[in-house]
Symmetry: C3
Subunit: 154 residues, 3 copies
Amino acid sequence: MNLLNMENPVFEVYAIAGSIVVLKVMLQGWMTVYRMLSSNSGLASPEDLQKGLINKDPSPEQLEVNDYVDRSRRMHRNDLENIPAFLAAGLLFVAVDPALWLAQVLMYGFVMARLAHFVAYATKRSHETRATFYTIGSMIVIYMVVHVLWLALS
Amino acid sequence: MNLLNMENPVFEVYAIAGSIVVLKVMLQGWMTVYRMLSSNSGLASPEDLQKGLINKDPSPEQLEVNDYVDRSRRMHRNDLENIPAFLAAGLLFVAVDPALWLAQVLMYGFVMARLAHFVAYATKRSHETRATFYTIGSMIVIYMVVHVLWLALS
Amino acid sequence: MNLLNMENPVFEVYAIAGSIVVLKVMLQGWMTVYRMLSSNSGLASPEDLQKGLINKDPSPEQLEVNDYVDRSRRMHRNDLENIPAFLAAGLLFVAVDPALWLAQVLMYGFVMARLAHFVAYATKRSHETRATFYTIGSMIVIYMVVHVLWLALS
């Protein structure tokens, strides 16, 4: 049985949810670039202090950690701790042929939890708010791989 | 020929090994949360100093690096440097139809190497011990992609 | 229709490009190890200051950030922000059955952009040079998932 194709509605849900979260993680990189350029700080490497198109007025303090820029990097790191795991877990989940409604709830739920986490982190909401959305996303990934293991090992 | 499905025993090995390492990386996040809450330190963002359910007695030192919490973050970073690469390499390896025993040795070997790396890092074993398990896991991923490249390019 | 197999030339392109970038990310880890050992600095954990095969003459400064070693870690982090996303985006892109030439341009283009980014970062080229190659790689991944979303949602 071939489930990993776009004619399978569950795979299509995975393709949509997976594409959105890949887009999310790529755009997080651009948010860091935007914040770095607009605040003219939070540079990563000593050679970035060269005068040039990106940096018209270099100064050594530009290499210091700046919360405005570093916040976007922390959001990115949080993505990297969750999104690649979701992408792999989701593909394996499709391969065990789950109910379509369950795939929709889990995968679109993950997308929404991560977007809410993004908003909570970007707007400096309380640790409790951010942790709630992190937990939802994390639990969804954990559920998916436990479901796969359960079926594979039984 | 369709190899990426649960009727293929090699894919089943990949699904089991892949699910375990996804679970491992997700639980590493929860180990960081546990250590952060139990030690009441190693917070990541300035807004986490707000008084609340998670932080009943805030103080500025909570934002400083704490080895107990940071160790779990370093273990997580090491996972991110290895596990997503394994997940992709493993899927490609299944697609070139390797012998089942070889897939079992490599994929379960990777799982065991990463679990041993986890124990060595968490219990502060010597750099040599940790490096040995890192090397085994890394060599397995490198072998898998070289095997895929060899077949694809020949 | 089963597209995720080595008889599909587009999947073969993905397998080759994916294997090369997995290899790249794994070798970046070994570049960090090489720089750490050859400079005898940039260690990550307090227990690495134990005398042993890896560290024959320990001193506390070995735990300080060293640009030679940290540069390789920053290159690695940049890989982790791009390569797992490419691996997932590429697989989804194969599943929507694109033209072979388009897959070749995008996937081999990504490989070349990341190798050029590696050279630019390792040889401390200007921020503008590094940013150019980052942008090419990033735009390719973004294009692939937007293409998938467009087809899946239309």
